[in-house]
Amino acid sequence: MLLFVSTALLPQCLLAQKIWETRKGCLRAQGNLAPGYLFSQKFLAAYVTGEAEVFVDDRTALSGAVWVSFVTNRKDVVGVTANHTLFTGINYHFLKPGRFDPFIGLSPGIGLAKAAFYDEENVLKRSRFAPIPLIGASAGCNYYVGWFFHFFVKVQGVAGQVFGDLPKPVRVDELKITAGLGWNIRAWKPKKRDVWKGQSAEN
């Protein structure tokens, strides 16, 4: 086991630049259980979420996230019953590389959602899954503790509405919150370091 771990971490030792020294070339990822507050039904939904972020330079990162819902509403009431989403985004990390790393981002997404509704005979039915375009914006902060892990917190606002075969559209406006322990590895060693104000490039 020790041999496996040390072998897996060997490339990290070779690419010794820490993420709090140069973010460019790093990959950050996390997997988590997370809540989301659905405004239309005033309910705290539960999700399994996974997210990855690649730093293309010290300030900018391209990100992707998946949210799979497993509880979205109380039993036997109308409203969203499933709300799976896929987000892509660009995040801007506005402080120069350091252990403390706040960021903001634009994260448009596509959702697959279905909802429960009462039909003409007052019977509770579920709609079919329907794709929905989503507006998304996020803000968060990382704190790099070790050279391969960090703590993070992220809040994401989402707006959209599901139509499908529902008699009336249902809004899926939501505040998604995620926090916990994330992982970071160096995917490549940048040829040039980004230059910050009052700093000169070393290589």
Partner: protein, 225 residues
């Protein structure tokens, strides 16, 4: 004697030609210093965007939400092209909905020289064309449905905020005119919604407001100096 004269004349003409060639080469070499407008050509960037579709087909309350992405390929310092795809859904009075899928391209002209995107705000005018698949459906499991494929043109204005020379946030407002037949939802006096198709309906369209984040991934070509 005659031959010598001819040879001298020929040599003189040849020297004149070589001299002129050298001069014109110097002029050509000097030109690019003045014309600093092609250095950003070849920038390829990827962007993600959210779009708000409002005033849809004359209905000011029908605000739609859209998601999309685009690639930008810059041709000159002030001229960029955008190749995009959008997926927009619109509510129609809570009784029907409309889905638009746009695939198209635009040309962007920067009103001010972006100065290699070191200028913070770079306003631009934009115009282009797209193909559009519109699907309109009355809400409900057995609601009527109609679709049409058409072409559209769009034009507008926008502004990029360059956070870094490679990364920008752009806000664009465009009006899109659909050129094909029109899909329309009508509500009768009993509150029942029906879908109608109007051929040769003329201009109909919607206002699109997009917020995008863009990153210049690579420079595809460099200008020869």
């Amino acid at each position: 004697m005659e031959t010598t004269k001819q040879l001298l004349t020929l040599s003189f003409l040849l020297l004149c030609y070589v001299g002129l060639q050298a001069q014109s080469t110097n002029v050509e070499k000097a030109k690019p210093e003045k014309e600093a407008l092609r250095y950003q050509g070849g920038n390829f960037s990827l962007g993600l965007r959210n779009t708000i579709s409002s005033f849809s087909h004359g209905n000011p309350k029908g605000v739609g939400i859209g998601v999309g992405g685009h690639a930008r390929l810059q041709l000159l310092d002030r001229l960029n092209t955008e190749w995009y795809a959008d997926f927009i859904s619109n509510d129609i009075q809570g009784k029907a909905h409309r889905t638009d899928i746009h695939v198209g391209w635009s040309v962007m002209f920067y009103v001010l020289n972006p100065k290699k995107f070191t200028r913070k705000f770079t306003p631009f005018v934009v115009a282009g064309h797209c193909f559009d698949q519109s699907i309109m459906k009355i809400n409900g499991r057995n609601g009527a449905k109609a679709s049409r494929f058409s072409s559209a043109v769009q034009a507008g204005i926008g502004c990029s905020y360059n956070i870094t020379p490679r990364f920008d946030i752009s806000l664009t407002t465009q009006y899109m005119f659909h050129l094909g037949e029109e899909l329309d939802a009508h509500e009768n006096s009993e509150g029942v919604m029906t879908i109608h198709t109007h051929k040769h309906a003329g201009w109909e369209g919607h206002l699109l407001i997009s917020l995008s984040a863009n990153y210049k991934i690579v420079k595809l070509w460099k200008r020869k100096t």
